[in-house]
Subunit: 259 residues, 2 copies
């Protein structure tokens, strides 16, 4: 094993953290795994739906498209605009809405303000591999990245292109676990892991300091959503983007490094 690790340390893949979709053009997505991060709430909802047996999640960029596609495949159209269920839809972006009874065996067609938009941008930039990450599937994401051996781009969806702390904290959580296995050359990754290590002991207690917390809790009363979205490994599944949809990767290796 010593030799394997020695070899690895000589050719570690790189890891970068992109703090806003408006900065995505600065990063080379070829030969990399791009992790879409939208902690509140798109990527937590995607993990929840797939963990509860959804066949797939189709991310789309508009409400009419969500309705049209869901009708053609007998799926469930859902989405959010500015934190609320999007006009014209019956289902929103709450991870708790997608129970096994409701979503099992069905396809979710989802449109959100930030997360699905970033995913589309990654596709436009020819990302090699796209997965989605959130605290509920943290370990699955880290295991996949370790096993892949590819360079990593942690893409924070933010809020309408602005930096947010919850996506940064998740990026930091990934870096905290991968640090020994990757080469980090960017200040955004250093900052992210530092912020995570300061708050990891009580993420839910820290949440009231987040701008988005007030948007969700004060205006929409979604405290249960927030708690789920900050619970590590509450929905252990690996969403991988293939042929226009996110599916649970049944081959996702359990942690090859035994962490």
């Amino acid at each position: 094993m010593a030799n394997l690790f020695d070899e690895m340390s000589q050719s570690k893949p790189s890891l970068h953290t992109c703090l806003s979709p408006a900065l995505l053009h600065l990063y080379d997505l070829s030969n990399s795994v791009m992790v879409i991060i939208d902690v509140f709430r798109a990527t937590s909802t995607i993990a929840s739906a797939l963990h509860n047996g959804a066949r797939s999640v189709i991310p789309v960029d508009s409400v009419p498209k969500a309705i049209e596609i869901s009708k053609s495949i007998d799926g469930i159209a859902a989405g959010e605009r500015d934190g609320m269920i999007a006009e014209g839809l019956q289902h929103g972006n709450s991870p708790l809405e997608y129970t096994r009874d409701f979503i099992g065996g069905r396809t979710l067609v989802l449109t959100t303000t930030n997360g699905t938009r970033l995913l589309q941008m990654a596709l436009d930039r020819h990302a090699d591999t796209i997965i989605s990450g959130s605290f509920p599937n943290l370990s699955k994401v880290c295991d996949y990245l370790l096993a892949s051996g590819k360079s990593v781009i942690l893409g924070c969806a933010g809020w309408k292109d602005r930096f947010n702390l919850e996506d940064t904290l998740f990026a930091g959580a990934v870096i905290d676990r991968l640090e020994q296995h990757v080469t980090i050359h960017c200040d955004s990754s250093r900052m992210a892991v530092d912020q995570y290590r300061r708050q990891q002991a009580d993420l839910i207690g820290f949440a009231p300091q987040l701008t988005h917390y007030h948007r969700l809790v004060n205006r929409f009363g979604l405290i249960k959503d927030i708690e789920f979205c900050l619970t590590v490994d509450a929905a252990p599944v690996l969403p991988v983007y293939r042929d226009g949809r996110l599916v649970a990767d049944v081959h996702a290796a359990d942690n090859p490094f035994g962490k």
Copy 2:
């Protein structure tokens, strides 16, 4: 005084931190003071030159323009590209180069990779008031912002649109002093002040963790520059942009709040 502070707290100006020039379009610069921050090294050099008696600093976006303007006014053309003295120029972007003997009474025409570019972007977006900030003139910047009573945009120049920690740390230092007098609604400001408070006791000791430190010190051996750029109030002057040039504001109030 109690009444004055009560009135102030009811109508505190807002403060936002913009982490990259590529995010500047997200912020409203009208009726605000925009602080250009390029710690390594443009805004530290501007503070150094003006504190040492330069008549003004003219920021320009190209080397030919720097040469042309400096010739016409018997000024000193200077600039940096990728951390080194720009090709075609004799003077660079080192704050230690601009001693009183050299720069006193003269005009510096300066072009840099990040800082002067951000200033031009702020002009293009019709910023109300533009000043430049760095650790060597931290107190002057804070005093001016407190006295102005306007909203504040802390603009980090970064490195070629990427986030960097040294500009973020300076933004955090400003927020640390202004926090009670402004309204903060953005996660980037929360993160910046948190990072600053963790590192403020030994900024120079923290420097080797910065990506840019290695760019400057390992490649160009500029450790003395770094130390100057991280020394609070080493060049106490307030550079204000007026009519195409940065000048020392002789009316800059000494701290009106007695901090």
